[in-house]
């Protein structure tokens, strides 16, 4: 494996947080690199179409405009090296004094990278939601379905049903319609009042972060005008189909069932931080939000408890793109200060308004977290339902193992749950929920192993 000269700052993740950090750092004569699995920057929220496509009116919704402006500035920054199409496989903190090491799979093969400061801003992913039939072709996370639409102009179904608890599904449904697709129905599991009441209670207060809320409201209006029904209080029971999704069975509150015919289903029950790199690096973690998801701890400059490793964006708790931008800017400032490029009084002065804005955005994020809370909305799953997709481990096997196993790692050893290439991203949350219930999932989870992303073994040895 070849190695190049160390970076001053290496940023993992080219989404809103990573971009904001890079933009605060650039122009200071530092060697800055940004690694991302996607070929182009943007993160999942602004996942860009291929450069070979000519895009018109791409992501026109108003709430995306500040993010698109930031992305434009990021792409124009001449001293920020873009390392796209590359997966960070592992982090070795303090591989030399004052230097951290990473192993990165690039399109040209695996390589070692060293950096004086590291920012982990790897975003989040859709919370996996086990359900009978959820492994059938045609069943997607709603974020994944949306990525097809916005970055590829591809609608993966003729008749789509979106189901979940998160208001994002309203925006995705409208993006499908705008692309010329058809959405049979958007289903919220919670009652209508649970979605609306927290917002109405706060609406008089001039919500900061209300952009996302307004976008959802506009989307809802447009869906109504297009004849797409938005339903409430229906719980998914199973995905029907033999070779491909053919329908979704929903349970009404009175226990009766409704069968919706469709050929694609999106599940949207919330988001989990990508936590494997901080956990592998041994950073102190905490549980955040109503999902009690693994999030990296940090100080006021977004530095973790490992000196020189910073964290920002959803890595520190899912709070949305606007908050990620502010956290990224703070991390950029923090790294600038820690590299001796800005005095502490100057950094503090610059940080003060950012921190005030962040506090308001986090209050909004907490409101959204409450509205989208899936507690009480999870489908009932029988013993035949697959919990761990990679290793085909069923709920039945895991329930049996829990008779003797006291930890997630013990269940993994006994059943192979979490042993596959996804490193537990598909199953760990569900396993912890099963072990401890939604409010008390205090197990440390799986021990994260190298490589955190699948890589051909020959790339590491060749």
């Amino acid at each position: 494996m070849a190695e190049c000269a160390p970076y001053d700052v290496l940023i993992v993740g080219g989404g809103p947080a990573g971009q904001a950090a890079a933009l605060r750092l650039h122009g200071a004569g530092l060697k800055i690199g940004v690694v991302d699995e996607q070929p182009r920057p943007g993160g999942q929220i602004l996942r860009q179409p291929p450069a070979t496509f000519v895009a018109a009116d791409w992501m026109e919704e108003r709430s995306y405009r500040p993010l698109k402006r930031q992305l434009g500035r990021f792409e124009a920054a001449p001293d920020v090296e873009w390392l796209g199409g590359s997966s960070v496989l592992g982090i070795e903190p303090g591989s030399a004094p004052g230097v951290h090491g990473l192993t990165v799979a690039t399109p040209e093969g695996a390589t070692g990278i060293r950096t004086r400061r590291l920012l982990v801003a790897t975003g989040c992913y859709d919370m996996p939601l086990p359900l009978a039939g959820w492994t059938l072709p045609g069943l997607f996370t709603t974020g994944g379905l949306q990525a097809f639409v916005k970055s590829q102009g591809f609608v993966p179904g003729q008749r789509i049903v979106l189901v979940g608890t998160h208001p994002l599904q309203l925006l995705v449904a409208r993006q499908v319609l705008q692309a010329g697709g058809r959405v049979e129905r958007v289903v919220f599991v919670q009652p209508r009042s649970a979605l609306l009441r927290p917002f109405l209670r706060r609406a008089g207060g001039g919500l900061v972060g209300g952009n996302a809320l307004l976008a959802a409201a506009r989307a809802w209006r447009d869906l109504g005008a297009a004849g797409t029904k938005v339903a409430f209080g229906l719980k998914p029971v199973r995905v029907a189909g033999e070779q491909h999704v053919s329908g979704l069975v929903l349970a009404r509150s009175d226990g009766t069932e409704e069968h919706l015919e469709c050929d694609a289903v999106g599940l949207c029950f919330g988001f989990l931080p990508q936590s494997d790199l901080p956990r592998m690096a041994g950073l102190a973690m905490e549980r955040q939000g109503r999902l009690r998801a693994f999030s990296a701890r940090h100080d006021e400059w977004m530095e973790s408890d490992v000196a020189g490793i910073f964290v920002a964006g959803e890595t520190t708790g899912v709070a949305g793109a606007d908050a990620a931008c502010v956290k990224g800017a703070l991390a950029g400032l923090g790294m600038l200060h820690s590299l001796g490029r800005i005095s502490e009084p100057s950094a503090r002065k610059e940080a003060a308004p950012l921190r005030r804005r962040l506090a308001r955005l986090l209050a909004f994020a907490d409101l959204l977290d409450r509205v989208a809370d899936p507690s009480g909305c999870y489908p009932e799953v029988d013993d035949q339902t697959i919990l761990c997709r990679c290793e085909d481990v069923t709920y039945g096997s895991v329930r049996a193992a829990l008779g003797t196993c006291g930890s997630a790692n013990a269940v993994k050893l006994l059943t192979r749950c979490g042993m596959g290439p996804c490193q537990g991203r598909n199953c760990e949350f569900s396993l912890l929920r099963l072990m401890h219930g939604p409010s008390r999932c205090e197990d440390a989870g799986f021990t994260v192993r190298f490589p955190v992303r699948p890589v051909p073994i020959g790339d590491l040895t060749g």
Partner: protein, 98 residues
């Protein structure tokens, strides 16, 4: 369904999937090409049922396929992260019936 509401695509290319030619557009992800062609089974699960792509963002590894290199070596890749290239050769782990 490929939509042309917001995008204009360059001229088509063809790649080989399980020995058959499949058309797509330069820059597209391999996942898009496969699903658009109706080739949406990525493997057969232990319970004998077909398995589909799930997350489309590199997290779940459910869209793993083998790229067959010129020297015959096989390179396992997540289809959602692969940009198609002219004359690419791909084999799914579902066999050619899926």
């Amino acid at each position: 369904m490929r939509s042309s509401r917001h995008f204009r695509r360059p001229g088509e290319v063809a790649i080989t999937v399980d020995g058959r030619l499949v058309h797509g557009f330069p820059g597209e992800s391999l996942a898009t090409l496969l699903l658009a062609a109706g080739l949406d089974v990525f493997r057969i699960g232990a319970e004998g049922k077909p398995r589909g792509l799930y997350c489309n963002m590199g997290s779940c590894s459910e869209c793993m396929v083998d790229l067959v290199l010129e020297d015959g070596r096989r390179r396992p890749m997540r289809a959602c992260l692969v940009t198609i290239g002219d004359a690419m050769v791909v084999e799914r782990r579902a066999g050619s019936d899926g």
